[in-house]
């Protein structure tokens, strides 16, 4: 197998990249200045060698603990549990949350053979059992599996922490009521609130 085929083969294993795109990327790398490709290769190498899950919250980091866990200004009493590390980025961009995180590493998915023991649930339980945490916000996706995971967390965490909360479901801001599906509207109605 040629080097070109090998690289294209590796690239096509990435999510969202098919055989054609992989070849296009490979030829693009061939055409660009050498140094840039080498920089990319080094970045990949560093990523693979140095980045690992944070020992506390499982957010990827180069250190023992991630920057959020080390930041003394972040509230250690409030944890936000998310399915994947990428979800942290989404919440951080909103700039509203000042607590810390816990990355579950997925969701309960019996059809893929993923149970609670395959997630970082017991680690979260231990974190919360210390007593310093007053609230866990469960921010798993509002899918059937995300909801089941949230319920499971509530069951196992409730004995250890004062509040287990769930992020709200409903209409997206700037959305159009006309195009929302029935379940979303039903949720939005049942979670309605008094206007100030």
């Amino acid at each position: 197998m040629s080097v070109i085929d090998e690289l294209a083969g590796e690239l096509s294993k990435l999510p969202g990249i098919g055989r054609k795109t992989a070849l296009r990327l490979t030829y693009h790398l061939l055409k660009q200045p050498r140094e840039r490709s080498i920089r990319l290769a080094r970045a990949l190498e560093t990523l693979a060698e140095r980045v690992h899950p944070c020992q506390t919250c499982f957010n990827p980091t180069e250190d023992a603990e991630c920057a959020i866990c080390r930041d003394p200004r972040r509230d250690a009493a409030v944890l936000c549990a998310v399915e994947e590390a990428a979800d942290i980025g989404a919440i951080e961009r909103a700039g509203e949350f000042r607590g810390r995180y816990h990355v579950l590493g997925g969701r309960i998915s019996p059809l893929d053979g993923v149970g609670p023991e395959d997630l970082t649930v017991s680690e979260l339980e231990r974190r919360v059992a210390g007593g310093a945490v007053t609230e866990v916000i469960v921010a798993t996706n509002p899918s059937v599996e995300g909801e089941a995971t949230a319920l499971y967390l509530q069951q196992v965490l409730a004995p250890h922490v004062a509040r287990v909360t769930r992020i709200a479901r409903g209409l997206p801001v700037g959305g159009d009521l006309e195009y929302a599906d029935g379940i979303t509207i039903a949720q939005a109605l049942s979670a309605r609130r008094e206007m100030p």
Partner: protein
Amino acid sequence: MTLTLLTLAIRDFRNLARVDLAVPAAGLVLVGPNGHGKTNLLEAIHYLHVLRSVRGARDADLVRFGAEAFHVAAQAQGGAVDDVRIGFARAAKRKKVMLDGVEAERLADAFGALPSVMFSPRDVELVAGPPTERRRFVDIALATTSRRYLTALQRYRAALVRRNATLREVLRRGTSDGATRVAVWEPALAEAGATLWCARVRWSRWAAPRLGALCAAIGERERVTLEYHTSLAVDPAGEADETHVREQLAAALERDRGQDLRRSLTHSGPHRDDITLKLGGRALRSFGSAGQQRTSAIALRLLERETLCEQAGRAPLVLLDDPFAELDVDRARQILRMLGDGAPGQTFLVVPRGDDVPDAYTALSRHTIRDGVLDA
């Protein structure tokens, strides 16, 4: 309003390699020996309605032997869309649906876009077969006419297969928190299940007198009744309050959890309910004669057509797969008369021999089919 297909194009669907038809407004008759692809043509048209095989076949098995993909496309008027194209590629296992030239984001968007009702000899299973057949019947009628029902059905099925997989996993590995692991799927089941339950009960109440009248009109002398049969401790004859049903369903799931864990099966919920059909107070399924069962099955299809007309506001296409083969002449004539009453709808009739075409349809333009090839 009446839905009318203007053109129909089929590629590599079952034994139909290539079909290009301009369809007359009234419909058409297709004549051909058994096993040459008559029913396949109707199945392709019905695929435009429910995006799956009416005969329960897997998509991969619908691709013509030796081909990679199938396509079914139609131009229509009087439907929710004017142009539907569906393709399925065996290798990618992917279904692609284009509605008026735009790819549908979700398959649900295309569900029921070009509605049709298919009358076939297999329909007797609706009456004589297991409860699955009747649940499937009512699910399709309601899901193609209500987006809310379709969403609830998808959610319910998703939660059900996951709860059952969890039951098996817990039984296999004997985890200590088995009950909790199973319970986390129940709120979704109760919520979506209540939506299904209430919609089915409402439909059953709407359908019961109509079915009785249809059967009587076809020539059935004894009274045919229809009831929703449920294990839930809620009276289907009472007012269906979704919150109450949800609570009852959640309670039943909790109550049966121990039994469910032992047998790796979810015992309560709308997926176990049935539509009970009776003739003079006795179960049609076990006591009805072959002719009575056939008459009731045809009446159920007429009822499906009424449901589509009423809910979607347009008459669906009528697909007749040699449906009167085993009926006596009088009943067949009655049914044809009922199909013709009101808004008849565009009709696609397939029969084995030219002599089998009922008088009412002799005016329709006629095609023949042999080995999957239509005459020009």
